[in-house]
């Protein structure tokens, strides 16, 4: 529990906050240099996200998959692994869910649940492959998981073209209504925004993330192996089995994200010419969130709100999309380079310490 609380205490909370502000300032400077009004731009960004119900709902839609992939990356990280493959696992989740959604006929709710579970398992297995290759053959998971992203994308395109895409189309058939997980009442209230059960599920997953890692025997082993494989081996844990297990659970989170995105937002899966990008953004989210569940939810909110609000900046302030990418990149940069931020914060932190005594 301590670790969760830490997020809000003193330095660990102050540093990311300050990093975000620095990122926004750098973005503002870039906008000034480009001849745009940063105040108007940031105002438009906030208005875009919080200004009306529809956009707020859509921002939530944008944030949800980032929570899943953020959790996936952070879970692996907590167990000493670097899962760059959340992207591919996300795609496999989408594929599994859309396949069940289109090809099967099941009663409502059950259909959706089965589709989500299949999607999650596909993501888990996809990550498990990288875990297995590391455990059995010593191949670094960064290499395999990156490669599996591409394999996943083209595999998904192949399956789509071979089984799911009607002739002359570029996307699968729409999943059966029984598999759709839209939160219809809420969506109506939010002016038709594509909100879905994935959002509450993502928040539940953040709790599960915490419970697995810090309350269960499995989590104890996973963390031990991640922090010190030698001591874990000494203590009789199977390092290899735990690597596979860790990657599998990590992939489950990403797969869940993909499944919910398909069943909740699109209801179909299009042939992909590029990766959806949620997996890569998940790395940044995990980084911003300090690999803690609450941090990840907040990080996803920040990241999702910034990217969704980008359209508002373009629409109302004329700022091109590239500039909002500068803002996002600067925020990540300063969070990652927290040494810089700490250095800048030194006087403040020192003062606090004195007062604390």
């Amino acid at each position: 529990m301590n670790r969760v609380i830490q997020v809000f205490t003193k330095e660990s909370f102050l540093v990311p906050l300050f990093a975000i502000i620095l990122g926004l300032v750098v973005g503002a400077l870039a906008m000034l240099a480009g001849g745009f009004n940063p105040l108007l731009a940031y105002e438009s960004l906030v208005v875009k996200v919080f200004g009306d119900l529809y956009n707020f709902g859509e921002a939530i839609r944008q944030i949800t998959p980032l929570i899943f992939t953020g959790l996936a990356v952070a879970f692996a990280f907590r167990t000493g692994l670097f899962n760059i493959g959340a992207e591919g696992q996300f795609i496999m989740g989408m594929l599994g869910a859309v396949y069940v959604g289109v090809a099967f006929d099941l009663p409502p709710i059950i259909h959706a649940v089965v589709a989500i579970i299949v999607g999650a398992l596909m993501g888990g297995i996809w990550a498990g492959i990288a875990g297995y290759l590391k455990a059995a053959r010593g191949v670094h998971e960064v290499i395999t998981s990156i490669m599996l992203n591409w394999i996943g994308m083209y595999f998904a395109n192949y399956i789509l073209n071979a089984f799911l895409v009607p002739k002359g189309q570029q996307r699968s058939e729409i999943v059966h209504d029984s598999a759709v997980i839209t939160l219809q009442a809420l969506s109506n209230f939010l002016g038709g925004a594509r909100v879905h059960w994935g959002t509450p599920l993502a928040l539940i997953c953040a709790v599960i993330f915490f419970i697995i890692l810090w309350k269960t025997k499995t989590g104890y082993e996973l963390r031990a192996v991640g922090l010190n494989p030698h001591a874990s081996e000494y203590a009789g844990m199977s390092v290899n089995r735990n690597i596979v297990k860790a990657m599998f659970i990590s992939g489950l989170f990403a797969g869940l994200g993909g499944a919910c995105e398909t069943l909740g937002v699109f209801h179909y899966l299009a042939v992909m010419s590029a990766m959806p990008g949620y997996g890569f953004d998940g790395i940044a989210v995990a980084l911003i969130g300090g690999n803690t569940p609450i941090g990840i939810v907040l990080g996803a909110f920040l990241f999702g709100a910034l990217s969704y609000g980008a359209a508002g900046m373009k629409f109302s302030a004329g700022v091109p999309i590239e500039l909002i990418r500068i803002v996002i990149s600067s925020v990540i940069f300063f969070v990652a380079a927290h040494g810089i931020v700490r250095y800048l914060l030194k006087p403040i932190l020192a003062k606090r310490k004195e007062e604390g005594r």
Binding site: E58, F266, F315, P320
Partner: protein, 358 residues
């Protein structure tokens, strides 16, 4: 570590590029404003004319794709200038992923814009969804038919335009090998391919067209790779129909040209000789997205929006065709042949296939 480095680099390069783009953009805007003021003064007596606002949403290719997104935006800007409308009466939003289509379209619709364009067939589902959710809104889409009473669908007979490109290629090839680089395999791109092959065969039955699909509209590196393969196999003319993926084809051709190889590219969607130069651009199969955008936007301004209809633009409607600038690169006798075929197609003496014939 890598990730950090990448962020740093992207921050650096982005800020640079934006600075450059920002400065350039400003100068342009300034010029435009001057122009607008002049026009407004000139047309002062038409003061009663109501203003319209027209927005467009790009697909993931973005507004600088050197292809139909850019073409559409140019059309929209021309529409604004020609009609003496204030600058803020046209605007665009870029989509970074499929998920952005709906909220981007909705942004214009909810804000009460008079017409919202969805550029590209990839946006069909989103256009349909937004159209159904907002029956009062007027929406238009390029390249795909969407059945809704408030949507006007604009299709092109790409096969007719590509046929003329094929005639040029078939007449001018020396190796009798011609390449085609497609983006994502889709009906639109298939029409390009089919028309192109038919055009080549019509003038040069011995020429062989080799087709490659890259599976992407936004990957110049893949385009370069594909072109390298085609030129390597002996093709001397390559026709890309692949959005900004096609930029890579031009890039590869430029490299080879500078090494003395006599290779050519046939541009697509716009007159790409203006972008990539006449040394390598033989001609371009133009798809006048700009004209279509201008035309339908004008209709909306004049109250003639054709909701629920499909407008198909072919050679007869000047929706597709080769640019004027081709006369600098293509010999007159070939152009004469092109004109001859064009008339035959317009007169329906020839019917151009929509799918490649085996």
């Amino acid at each position: 570590m890598k990730k950090k480095l990448l962020s740093v680099l992207s921050v650096a390069t982005l800020s640079l590029s934006v600075l450059v783009a920002g400065c350039g953009g400003n100068a342009q805007q300034g010029a435009q404003q001057g122009q607008n003021q002049g026009q407004e003064q000139a047309g002062g007596d038409q003061a009663g004319q109501k203003t319209v606002r027209i927005g467009m949403v790009t697909d993931v290719g973005g507004v600088n794709d050197n292809s139909f997104n850019q073409s559409a935006w140019e059309g929209l800007q021309k529409f604004q200038q020609d009609n003496g409308l204030p600058q803020e009466s046209v605007n665009y939003l870029q989509s970074t992923s499929d998920a952005d289509y709906v909220p981007n379209l909705t942004q214009f619709v909810k804000d009460g814009w008079d017409l919202t364009w969805g550029i590209g067939f990839m946006m069909a589902d989103a256009v349909k969804q937004v159209a159904e959710a907002n029956p009062d809104a007027k929406i238009a889409i390029i390249d795909q038919e969407v059945q809704a009473p408030n949507v006007e669908s604009v299709l092109f007979k790409e096969n007719e335009g590509a046929f003329l490109g094929g005639v040029v290629a078939g007449s001018m090839t020396k190796s009798n090998k011609i390449g085609f680089v497609g983006g994502v395999e889709s009906p639109v791109i298939k029409r390009f391919e089919a028309g192109f092959i038919a055009g080549v065969k019509a003038v040069n039955p011995n020429a062989k067209v080799i087709s490659v699909y890259t599976g992407a509209f936004d990957k110049p590196d893949l385009g370069k790779q594909a072109a390298s393969g085609l030129y390597g196999q002996g093709a001397d003319i390559v026709f890309p129909a692949a959005g900004s993926t096609g930029d890579g084809v031009f890039n590869e051709a430029k490299d080879r040209k500078s090494k003395g190889e006599n290779v050519w590219v046939i541009g697509v969607d716009k007159d790409q000789s203006l972008t990539f130069g006449k040394e390598i651009t033989l001609t371009s199969v133009m798809k006048r997205v700009d004209q279509a955008v201008e035309r339908v936007s004008k209709d909306v301004m004049d109250g003639n929006f054709k909701g629920g209809q499909v407008v198909t633009l072919g050679l007869a409607e000047d929706g597709v065709g080769l640019p004027e600038t081709s006369k600098d690169t293509v010999p007159a006798d070939v152009l004469a042949k092109v004109e001859e075929f064009k008339q035959k197609i317009v007169n329906k003496e020839i019917s151009v296939p929509e799918e490649p014939q085996e």
